[in-house]
């Protein structure tokens, strides 16, 4: 049976893992290569490395971090943050990434999705959407530039278009929930998951096991991503997977 994936996300800045709350207040959380290996060992199904600074000057640092992290990681490895062109994607793939995640650059030029998918396959292209509720309604707007700029695009419509253009998965972050541990936005996740034919990774708000059960059941997520709950020893992935397994969610356990 196809299992629900638990994905560990490492936000990196200048070669170090950091974590903020609602896209602010970055704190140091360790070495990316070491943390990636530790997460894999603990039972993470995938690792995502997101360059949260994503500046041009930091590009070579990022490539070096990707190479170091990939060397001893034998589970799927995604890299995102600041990838603006096919050439930048190629450099990340060459350094050992299995998939890339793109956000702002795809909104600016949606053909980028297709160009990367044609060269590396759709399975290698994750479209990341940072979505925020429009007032209290069940409508969601896509944001870019690390959540700083509203785009006016409806998140569900954008997910649908990206799928047509060749994206292989959607990484959907609720900006309202990011870093809070208060639970995923199941309404948002379900709206996107039912609108597209490709897997949806829910992100933002992961907390106790119950929040994961909810996003898999009610949110129809195929995978769930979390960062802060894994980094500071708040919760061990193995414990979370055991709890999900006991709660009847199909997960890779034991692994």
């Amino acid at each position: 049976m196809l299992t629900k994936r638990i994905i560990a996300c490492l936000d990196v800045a200048a070669g170090r893992v950091v974590k903020g709350v609602q896209f602010q207040q970055l704190r140091d959380a360790g070495d990316p290569a070491e943390l990636a290996a530790a997460h894999s060992e603990a039972g993470a199904d995938e690792v995502v490395l997101l360059d949260v600074t994503a500046t041009h000057e930091n590009r070579s640092t990022l490539i070096d971090t990707v190479r170091r992290t990939a060397r001893q990681l034998f589970i799927p490895f995604t890299v995102g943050g600041g990838i603006r062109s096919l050439e930048e994607a190629a450099a990340v793939f060459d350094a050992g990434a299995d998939k890339i995640s793109i956000n702002s650059a795809a909104l600016a030029d949606p053909s980028l999705i297709t160009r990367i998918a044609e060269r590396y396959g759709s399975q290698a292209v994750i479209l990341a959407i940072d979505a925020k509720r429009v007032s209290a309604q069940a409508r969601f707007q896509a944001y870019v530039s690390g959540g700083r700029k509203p785009t006016g695009r409806d998140a569900v419509a954008w997910a649908r278009e990206a799928t047509k253009r060749g994206a292989g998965e959607i990484l959907l972050t609720s900006m309202d929930r990011d870093g809070t541990g208060a639970g995923f936005d199941c309404e948002l996740t379900r709206a996107v998951s039912e609108a597209v034919s490709i897997p949806v990774i829910a992100s933002g708000g992961g907390g106790d096991a119950r929040t994961f059960v909810e996003v898999f059941d009610r949110g129809r997520a195929d995978a769930a991503l979390a960062a802060s709950i894994f980094h500071f020893g708040l919760r061990h992935i193995a414990d979370l997977k055991r709890e999900l397994h006991d709660g009847g969610i199909p997960v890779r356990w034991p692994c």
Binding site: L2, T3, D45, G96, D98, Q123, A124, G168, P199, D222
Partner: protein, 196 residues
Amino acid sequence: MIAIVDYGAGNLTSVKKAFDYLGAQTVLTRDPALVAKADKIVLPGVGHFSSTLLLDQTGLRAAILERVRQQVPFLGICVGMQWMFDSSEEAPTVPGAMLFAGKCERFPATVKSPHVGWNSLVSSEGSQLFRGIPSGSFVYFTHSYRVPLTKATVARSEYGGEFSAAIECGHLFGVQFHPEKSGRTGMQLLKNFCEL
């Protein structure tokens, strides 16, 4: 030495990295002459079935098939396994290697496609590839087309119906999943291949 055939398809470095980690001697190559001398051949792959056309255009196809006739162990991964069959619905005019009879087909519309993630296997006893790997183990898949069950199937998986997760016949091996991305289970499988 293990020749990892480079035909421009995706995950070559991941596959090489995994063999390097196991201490195997490998070479990434698109040179038919090197393939003709290899002790073992690995054909990785991610992407479109039509990318295998490059094998025909470069003389790699002939070199691989000649070496396979000489009983050299061969492992096809993902599209590499699909290539071992007659053809694929993904690119109906592109010929496979025809080492096994059958056609790769699309997943039914009842399930999301591609099939992405960790799925469990039901494996047969006596497989060389699955030595030390218990039935029920999880491996990582990412694909939109699949090989139906055949007489050579040694591991099955289920997603919108059962399909071949692995095939094995003598010195010919194929896996639909990605052993290089399947954690300890995948590394054990690659180690088994190295030790053949």
